[in-house]
Structures are given as C-alpha cells and as structure tokens.
C-alpha cells in the first residue's frame, strides 16, 4: 500500500457566523485532499455547517476539530464539535426531527446523523455538548 500523507489534526475556533463558512470550507478541502468524492464532500460540508451553526446559536463559542484517520487502510475523516455552553437536557428530544428551541426546522442534529457514517452526541447539562461524527471513504 502506498503511504499517503494525512493532513495533521486541524482545529477551527467557532464563535462567529463567518467561522461556520470557514469550518465547512476547511472540512471540504481536507475531505477533497483525502480523496472523498464530490457527493461525500458536500455531505461532510453540510454536517459541519449544521454542527458549527448550533455552536454559534446555542453555545456562543466552541471548536471543531478535523482528524484524518486510517484504520487498516480504510481512510476516514473524524470531526469533533465541542462547546462549553448550556448543554442539552434531553438528548433524545434534541435528536428527533422537528424539535427546536431556536424556532428553526429542528433538522440539524437528526439530519447530520443521517448524512454521516458515525454519529455520537454527549452532553452534560451546564457543561456543554460534544458531537463526534465520521465519514469513511467508500471503496
């Protein structure tokens, strides 16, 4: 197997509207460099946009970390969206289609779960939210 240089871990601070755009552009660029196809790049960029926007809307600030991974030759992009905002008291409720405390569509979290291969959400009320998602290159 040829060894491919994976991009180093990259952390993007999220605290303003413009950071949402920057984060999804960074994610798309890394995904393209890793060899994801255009449809998958779009899915990854969309997921990042949803997670970053939730940080700005509900937690004010946080970060998104991008990590290229290689498991036995299978390559994937892991994305961790973290904040130390108010947290989510009822995760099941937040994960259901249409639930929103922000008078929005309530599709960001459940939709992100649908478009990524792996999805994990944790929250301790009062201490913030961590959402970890991953997408693997299909072969």
């Amino acid at each position: 197997m040829t060894s491919i240089e994976l991009p180093a871990e990259h952390i993007q601070r999220i605290e303003r509207d413009g950071d949402v755009v920057a984060a999804r552009q960074t994610g798309r660029r890394i995904a393209a460099e890793m060899g994801f196809g255009r449809p998958e790049q779009a899915l990854i960029a969309t997921a990042i946009s949803e997670l970053a926007r939730n940080i700005v809307s509900y937690a004010e600030r946080g970060s998104i970390t991008f990590r290229a991974e290689d498991h036995a030759g299978r390559r994937g992009l892991r994305i961790v969206a973290e904040d130390r905002g108010p947290g989510i008291p009822d995760l099941a409720q937040a994960m259901s289609d249409g639930f929103s405390t922000g008078n929005s569509l309530g599709l960001g979290l459940p939709g992100t779960q649908r478009i990524m291969d792996e999805f994990d959400i944790r929250s301790i009320p009062g201490e913030g939210v961590t959402v970890t998602v991953a997408k693997w290159i299909s072969r």
Binding site: Q25, A42, L43, R53, L105, G108
Partner: protein
C-alpha cells in the same frame, strides 16, 4: 463590504445570483435587498440562482423559504434554480425539501416557469 449577491433585472423579473459560499449574515442581508427591489421595480418574479453554492444547509433553506413567502406576499413569485446534484442529495438526506418554493434546473427553465405563472 462588497455585495456578495448581485441582483440583476430582466424586465420585471429579478435575478439574484449567489456567487459562492455565503455566510448567514450575507443571506439575511439579501432578504431585505430582494424585498426592496421587488417593490422599487414592481417586479413580478424573483429567481435565485444557486448553481454556485456547494452547501445549502437548514439555515440557508429556511431563509430561502422565508424570502419566498415574503416575495409572495408582495404579489410576486420566486423560483430557485440550479441546485447542484450533490447539494440536492445532501438536502434530501438532511430532511430539507423546499416544497413550498418552485425550483427549476437552470435559469432559462426558471424564467419560463415564472412567465407561465404571471396572469
């Protein structure tokens, strides 16, 4: 700040062409400008050409629906044209349908669509 979305006029139709990745505030500022232009030019139709956009997330979609509803209230019609195939695919998986806004493949079809709708 430079205008990120120029609004052109063709007869009584306005055409807003999205240039590239827009921030939320860019989209929100567009909302006001489109409505002002609809009133100023007595426009009967508005077309949003989103073929240059490579992401349309829940915020963007909701804002486009809101603009369409406001345009409708001003007696004009709005259509969205040029949604990229991979963008459409992501939107469907996310659960975004845009079912209340007419869409067309490209600008030409969109213009024809609006022309048909005008009494």
């Amino acid at each position: 700040m430079a205008v990120r979305v120029p609004i052109l006029r063709q007869g009584r139709t306005l055409i807003a062409s999205f240039q590239d990745d827009l921030s939320d505030s860019d989209i929100l500022s567009l909302q006001g400008r489109v409505l002002e232009d609809v009133i100023r030019h007595r426009a009967t139709g508005v077309i949003f050409d989103v073929s240059a956009l490579d992401v349309l997330d829940s915020f963007g979609t909701r804002t486009l629906s809101d603009i369409a509803a406001a345009v409708q209230l001003r007696g004009a019609r709005m259509a969205i044209v040029g949604i990229q195939p991979e963008v459409a695919f992501s939107m469907v998986l996310l659960g975004l349908t845009l079912s209340d806004v007419p869409t067309a493949l490209d600008l030409e079809t969109g213009l024809a669509l609006l022309a048909r709708a005008v009494p």
